[in-house]
Amino acid sequence: MILISCPWCGDRDQTEFAYGGDATVQRPAPDDADPTRWFDYVHTRDNPRGSHRELWFHAFGCRQWVEVTRDTATHAVAGAVLAGLRVGEGETP
């Protein structure tokens, strides 16, 4: 079981969350007409073995999106912050 430290709710089981994927991909500006940037945003991923910044939605909790830093080789969670308000590693908003 992965224990995710929600910035609002504290340590909660992974079963309360829905996975939202890689948090590092940046959506291009709406008027960006370059198809390669959109292709990268939609399809390609770094897919690292090790530290991974990812989004989880606390569906059965505070219903906030949180950005979790988790090791993909060990599943160890290093920390979580509110998505979109990232101010620093392990720091809560």
């Binding site: 399809h43 390609t44 897919n47 073995r49």
Partner: protein, 419 residues
Amino acid sequence: MQRYSAFSLARRALGGHRGWEPAWRKATLRGAYDVVVIGGGGHGLATAYYLMANHGVARVAVIEKGWIGGGNVGRNTTVFRSNYLLEDNIRFYEHALKLWEGLTEELDFNLMVSQRGCLMLATSLGEMNALRRRGNMMRLAGTDAEYLSGDEVRREVPNVVGEDDGLWPIYGGLMQRRAGTIRHDAVAWGLARGASARGADIVENCEALDFLWTGGRISGVRTTLGDVTCDKVVLATAGSASLLAAKAGLRLPIESHLLQAFVTEGLKPLVDTVIVWGGPGHFYISQSDKGGLVFGGDLDGYNSYAQRGNLPLVEDVISAGIGLMPNISRLRLLRHWGGIMDMTMDGSPIIGPAPVDGLILDVGWCYGGFKAIPAGGWLAAHAAATGSPHELAPPFALDRFARGRLLDETGNGPVPNRQ
């Protein structure tokens, strides 16, 4: 190569089973090859075999970080089938199915191919309509599909679906009689034996670290056992495709995910076909020759390179299984394991030349890699030996993502954890 037959078995038995030769030769890495295949799993070994058997390539090496049979080729639920929805997928997996039908004799190694059929179940009218559509697509693409009513399903698999259906009403099913199961370890060993007998060097405990370049073209591989040069490199890794492709400067449309599988204690015959249920729960089950029920379900659902899963998914799979088959609720699990799936953004594999000279991709097998082994090897070998794609290969090219020509079998969009 020592041939296997009833006669050779009797002769060795009389001699106290002394004198059996190893099934395949453990080679040491030489300095130069025509083709180096990275990854000694099913696809890597099949690629090496077909490079030599179909195309007469003389010098082939397969380098494997661990040992032969230790990766996903030994970590699956041993099912083969071609009951897909999209025409390109059906044709490709049908090619694999036809190759499976003849590989035992071709390799002179008993793969224990058992065409016991694959029955997809529907527990609602909507599911049945989807299965009928799938069956229509399969028939149009030239493979076999048989529609079963609820009563026919109950007669066909009385131990799976009883008189009163349990929790889920059975509306019907879609049967592919030529599908079935194979002994997966025999696949690894049979292909290793076939490739080795034709002169391929299979090198275990040899990790690919980086690529060697000559004028913007890949010309070799740096391994833990030294550098090796070659004309072509085939990347046939499962679970680590993104990491190795990054060394070639590629960023793939792949996320690595966990898939768990389970085996129960041995039972007398209970399930004589492969049951697949993709309804309110996702569950597939078959029975091994030793009597254990082999089953699985969904991905764990988050990026992972750990070859072990978590308990929430165990509960999810088993509750789906018991919902369908209450009669298995008291069984104990004998084994339970996890493998890493390279999930692509559309749930279909990537086969063909990479946008880097000298590199062929046979990666991104999601969780369909085992059944595709001979066809994946066939197409990868064709691309490496001839420099042009096999007629079945273009739909699986890497550039389909940029071109928007996706092979999205489940219709989930670019969300690998839901494929």
